[in-house]
Amino acid sequence: MRKWVIVLLVVFLPGLGQATILKKGPVTVEGYIKSETGVYPDFTKWIKIMNIVDLRGQYQPRPWLSFYGRLYKYWDFAYNQEDEYAPAHQAMYTNRETWQGISWVRELYIDFFSDYLDIRAGKQLITWGTADGIRVLDKYVNPLDWREFTLKPWNEIKIPLWMLKLEFQPTLNGTLQFLLIPDFEPDYWPAPGAPFCPGIVKIGKTKMEKLMELSREGIEGVPFDYRIISEERRPGEKWGNSKFGIRWRDVLGNFEYTLNYIYSWETESVERTTDIDASTMDMGKVAQLANIMHKTIPEMFDFFSRNRIAPPGSTFHFGQRYHRINVWGGTFSKTFVGGPLKGLTLRGEFAYVRNDYKAYYDKKENTIKWAKTDCYNYVIGLDKWVVTNWLASFQFIQLIRSKKDVNGNPFLHLSGYPMDKVETLLTLKVSTDFFHERLKPDILIVYGDDNDWRISPSFYFEWGDHWTTTFGAHILEGKESGLHGQFNDSKEIYLEIKYSF
């Protein structure tokens, strides 16, 4: 039924040619239909073939009261076209549980506005921070859908949550924001086989494949037939498991700052747990194996122990354990409105995360584990208009952990490779416009200190009041161990065609 509704919308709405599908008194309904196609630069592989429908409605009976809803749905046909995506297609597009956070209803909330207090309650997106291209404070509020890595605007890939936002304005320019987020969603990671599946997820997949092979094939022709149980173990739905955030923002002259605190959950680097219940072992198979290998039963158990193999018939409980974290931080922005630095904006963002959980590779046990470490992340940015309408924006970013390693085992990057205690990134964005702002080219360059690159040029053009197109590329270069280099095979050139109504 839903598919037919969408087909009807796609067929009939463009033909209406109206500026807005509906605007009558306090009711406004608008939206867009978009096609996004991405292909590997040598045209040998699809990266995405997406069709998107986005519909938004607002009912504002009074200036101080508003109801807003946004529906957002997409289909990515690349997963039907490319054989290498088949395993991901199965996991991502047919497993309904995986889609819990990614529903049709993207935003749905009620607003109350007043001079002293604004209230927004419902499913929404909140943004903290001033950084571009990276989330320092922001990542602890709304989780992220990593299906296209970080290549899309945050508005499209952040996962909205049900929450209450209060914004109290006790002074003229000072506001105190309070967030109560009882909803829980983890970051969404693409399954192995997807174009932007990170290396650390692939490591997990490789280990799982080896386990399944052992389960099927066993040793000496005796299959081990393990029982595999996967449980997500989300935090229970109770008020005590909510996220609580608070932010103070104020302006002093040309200097603006925020102070932030959030009691959150670590949802990006989630601890994976493996519990083995050997009480379900199949003694018959143990005896069979012992007979074949000319060992006694105790010698067989010793063999299993030395080789870190669970006995046949054991039950594996794979789970995810979410940890609470405390995040303190702040931002600042200063625009120089006079003097030699006139026109320059200096901005910064900082986050201290206490007892964050990060993955590391335990060489002795040949497995990935998680350990606590404090993290200090910051960004310093400079923005300036140069030569009339060219805007240049530069950022210096550092991600620092209090521990370099755990007993000599370094922490792991998203790529699955060791990461340094201090990771440094530089970004540069240059944007401008031509033809009376109809053509807007820009380029974003991100450089990681391990010679890791991302270069994303794009050309946006407005054809008229309804049609826009964007042509661009994401060039991801570097070693396989790098944040961007791991996606060497997923660099793309893309075209977006959008019809707005």
């Binding site: 002293y116 909140i126 304005q169 409105v337 901005r347 009376h436 702002e437």
Partner: protein, 297 residues
């Protein structure tokens, strides 16, 4: 009983007096009239006050259309809404302003908060609401010769040019022959007696060498402006059409610009569908980032 009655009566009397007194002090919604023989500076200062509604406390424009027509006749439209509060030098502020783009859908939601200062040498403080990132970004003032919303108007012409940016010279008086609008084909302001003023930008190497401003002798409104380049060629003209209600505030109906070099014509229509409203008591608290954060789009 009698004493209580007298106290109540006195209270009511004082309350009424207070209300009448307050009403009497309510800011007038019209600019002060021009003197008999005004100087160039007086005229340009008066026009600056009219353009930025500095004679009022606040103004709201609910339906602004920016219509852009290129030389082939291809037309694009952007919609916007605007609110401004005039602070008359309070804490060094001239005014605070919020403008939202309301149309088309793909730019809807973009909002700009501006704080302008009395000191002409001090740039405005500006915050942008970026819908695709759902975040507020503090930016420096765009270069003032940059295009305003993609039109032929510059940022300076619409938002930032202050009295004091130029030197002025009164070059005479003339009767304006009228302006035929490319927007609706009508001729406006025919036979309006005007003062003519030359304005020279103080900035070096600016996008114009001089401009000639035609000021309506009766109202102080700049009806027409001619822009000249270094070679003395007129390359741009701007027309302002205002409405002068008998018992209300002056308000602009539309501004129109034509660039002779590019053949582009752009019109900002401000009072056609909905008249702007003045002095509604908008709180200064409205002109903060909290308001930008209210954007749904």
């Amino acid at each position: 009983m009698k004493r209580n009655f007298l106290i109540i009566a006195l209270f009511l009397l004082l309350l009424n007096l207070n209300l009448c007194f307050a009403k009497g002090l309510q800011r007038q919604c019209r600019p002060p009239g021009l003197s008999e023989k005004p100087s160039a500076d007086e005229l340009m200062k008066a026009w600056f006050d009219i353009k930025f509604t500095r004679y009022a406390d606040d103004v709201t424009y609910e339906d602004i259309d920016v219509i852009m027509i290129d030389k082939s006749g291809f037309k694009r439209t952007k919609g916007a809404a605007r609110k401004r509060i005039v602070l008359h030098g309070k804490r060094g502020f001239d005014y605070k302003d919020v403008i939202w783009i309301t149309y088309p859908e793909y730019t809807k939601g973009l909002a700009v908060l501006t704080w302008a200062y009395m000191d002409v040498n001090k740039q405005n403080d500006i915050w942008l609401w970026l819908p695709s990132w759902k975040k507020i970004r503090k930016v420096s003032q765009a270069e003032e010769d940059d295009s305003f919303m993609g039109s032929e108007f510059t940022v300076e012409e619409i938002t930032t040019r202050r009295y004091g940016y130029e030197t002025y010279k009164l070059i005479g008086e003339d009767v304006f022959s009228g302006y035929k609008s490319g927007w609706d084909g009508k001729t406006y302001c025919k036979d309006v007696p005007c003062y003519k003023i030359e304005g020279y930008p103080k900035k070096k190497h600016w996008y114009y060498e001089k401009r000639i401003v035609w000021i309506d002798k009766k109202t102080g409104v700049s009806v027409y402006e001619e822009y000249y380049d270094k070679k003395g060629r007129k390359f741009k003209e701007i027309f302002h059409y205002y409405v002068y209600p008998e018992n209300g505030c002056y308000y602009p109906l539309f501004y129109e610009v034509y660039n002779f070099k590019t053949g582009h014509r752009d019109i900002i229509v401000m009072g056609s569908k909905k008249r702007p409203v003045f002095n509604t008591g908008i709180s200064e608290r409205f002109f903060t980032e909290k308001t930008l954060g209210r954007q749904e789009w």
